[in-house]
Amino acid sequence: MPDDLMDGRIVVVGASLAGLRAAEALREGGFTGSLTVVGDEPHAPYDRPPLSKQVLLGKATADTTELPMRRDPDADWRLGVRATGLDPLAKRVVLEDGESLPYDRLLIATGTRARPWPNPEEAALDGVFTLRTREDAAGLAERLAAGPRRVLVIGGGFTGSEIASACREMGLDVTVTERGPAPLVGALGGTLSKLAAVMQRNHGVDLRTGVTVTALRGNGTFTGAELSDGSRVDADVCVAALGAIRNVEWLADTGLAAGPRGIACDAGCRAFNMYGIVTDDIFVAGDVSRFPHPLFGYQMLSLEHWGNAVDQAEVAAHNMINPGPLRRPHLAIPTFWSTQFGLNIKSVGVPTFSDHVVIAQGSLEARRLAMVYGFQGRVTAAVTVDMAKSLDYYRHLIETAAPFPPPLGAQDRAIAADVPIPSDVPDPKGLSHGPTVALTGYLPDRRLTVVPPTG
């Protein structure tokens, strides 16, 4: 092992889940040099999944979701300060306070932020929220605890649906608007989204699909919203659950392949520059990355998944301190979970990378099922509803590119398993929120031309 890789200066930009796990893995792997972690939030790394669940329900407070450390990464923490620039030639990260941090190797783990309501004046109304940070969750939880007459949730993705679920559990009236045909359709496709719609309505959610919110109303304080179908929703609290924006602006003009869908990197988490040339010393991990995955046609995947942040951070850290032949690819099969309306939803693979689905076990009626997704005759994903222990079986089918539909013989196999139906994955443009998995390979951001470097 060359000593120089275990020594030197590593800067990690991003102090959330991926940044923390990478810092720990660097030390675990034997890195003895100087380690600096930069984060724009003033807090130690904390966990986000509870923010839209337990915290809203008042079962935990927002300031108690600090992430446990596996080991002290012995890092110089720069919290509450934003990275504003990067000079890849001089190898320096510029911070908003003017300081510039020299590095030998850099890990970018800046993640995403909530997409705000697009009209800034309306977004500034008292009672209008987004939900991404600890402060967002604390503020929203306080409003919900005060018992508003109605809550309006804009966007029926996972975050929006979980917020609606929490509201109903607290006995609050809630309206969900979704531009697409049903909640969760962007992540799970048409069939399961119908179950999601039924679950929401059965739990008393006023679900409006195929509509958009055209304006938020209020005089200093939010009072209601107007919808594209001409109707109006009167509510005291509004949550814009419109998906996420990747934190890449600080990398503008660095020559890195950074755009609205994230920072492109190779399978070993090494960042690409805008010409698709891999960099030697800049690595990417977590929500802000997009990376090629062989099981999904080498499309550049962007995943907003907790598990991906952990796995990718560990691979990136390993590769930062190991020479080429010992480097590992990030080939983890994507997984995510959600709990809402009493259901436990777990996904493995990439459901949006599909053309057909079958219900392989259970049934929609039983509210307990395994839906298997196929693309061109092989299994690419599975989603279980209250059947999480079956997930590993489907993970194995995905890993081994097993034929679709999956083999017969399951005891609780649905009759529907014989009839593949179109997976009905919508164009992301038709959703009010971003999909949590973005397949970006066929959607180039812009035309690229070679520009010789100046200076």
Partner: protein
Amino acid sequence: MDSETLLTRITDYANRPNPYPLYAELREAGPVVRQADGSYLAGTYHEIAALLHDPRMSADPRTRGAVTHKPPFLRLDDPEHHRLRTLAMRPFGPPHSPGRVDAMRGEIDRVTKELLGSFEAGRQIDVVDDFAYPLPVTVICRLLGVPREDEPLFRAWSDTIVASADVRPEGDSAETDKAGDQARTEMGLYLVNLAEQRLGRPGDDLLTAFANEPDPALRLTREELAETAVLLLIAGHETTVNLITNGVLTLLRHPEHLDHLRREPDLLPRAVEELLRYEPPVHMRERIPRDDIDVAGTKIPRGASVILVLASGNRDPMRFHDPDRFDPTRPDNQHLGFGSGIHLCYGAPLARIEAQAALGALLPHLGAARLVQDPPPYRQNAMLRGPRHLPIHL
């Protein structure tokens, strides 16, 4: 063919003290190995894990044509398994009873302390009879609501049932099966009677909860209650006794780790996980394919008996680094000690707490202890493997 007699050799009592060389032979012979009697053995970690998760694999002995009445949920398939396991889980664990197991800690510590009361340096004790057996029995009695004094009664039934459930190569086992069925019926009646005595006179035990469930849709039938209660009572102690005993045996065989744990008791939870990998109480489980299936290139016909040798998977060098080494600090220890998949051990949270409490309390007494007999005499059972006695000198 030698590998065709592996199951016979594994179940041979002479190999009970150390079946691990046979497991190595099994893994060497292939991920799945056909036995002369037409059954199959699976001994490699990844294949076992895959089979445990495969919805085409049945746990129900009736799938291979075995004549038996409806088994408890341990040996049922979904969706019936799911329904019964969920009902059994209601008074035991989350989401309906989240604090139940954790609330037993005080009780477990109290029982442990009581048992340790008479342990003095210089004395010889039997770890099984004096400690590892009475502790889980007392705990499960308390949890279920079974009088502790009835132990001799259900011990006989339990022995018979466990013997009948052992893994055996094909042969004449009609008598054992019949005795097992009879014991199950009698034990079931006994437990249903206890439960029915609680109607309207509730305690805070599981039998009370089962008998007094107000929602008819969530109520176990009399027969289901009998099967479930028998399962919980037996599984609640027959396995934990081996986990604790194997733990003491392993620690006494590895004094350096014993010292380490005495110095750093915080390591105990990890040490228990390593014990579950290194010397698990449950060595084998049976599954039956509902359709012809292919495992790593071997075709297994529907209805065949497939024995998953969990304890062999736990020692698979393709999965665990240096697997024959006992290492309480082992990272990434996803063992098969509690199985996996839909039948993942129902009682695992309780077993963990009991083993941690028992070994933790015993550690201070083991400083100068030595094994009187190594290997100790083992129980007959090959599936639920553990010492029958473990005499040690304190």
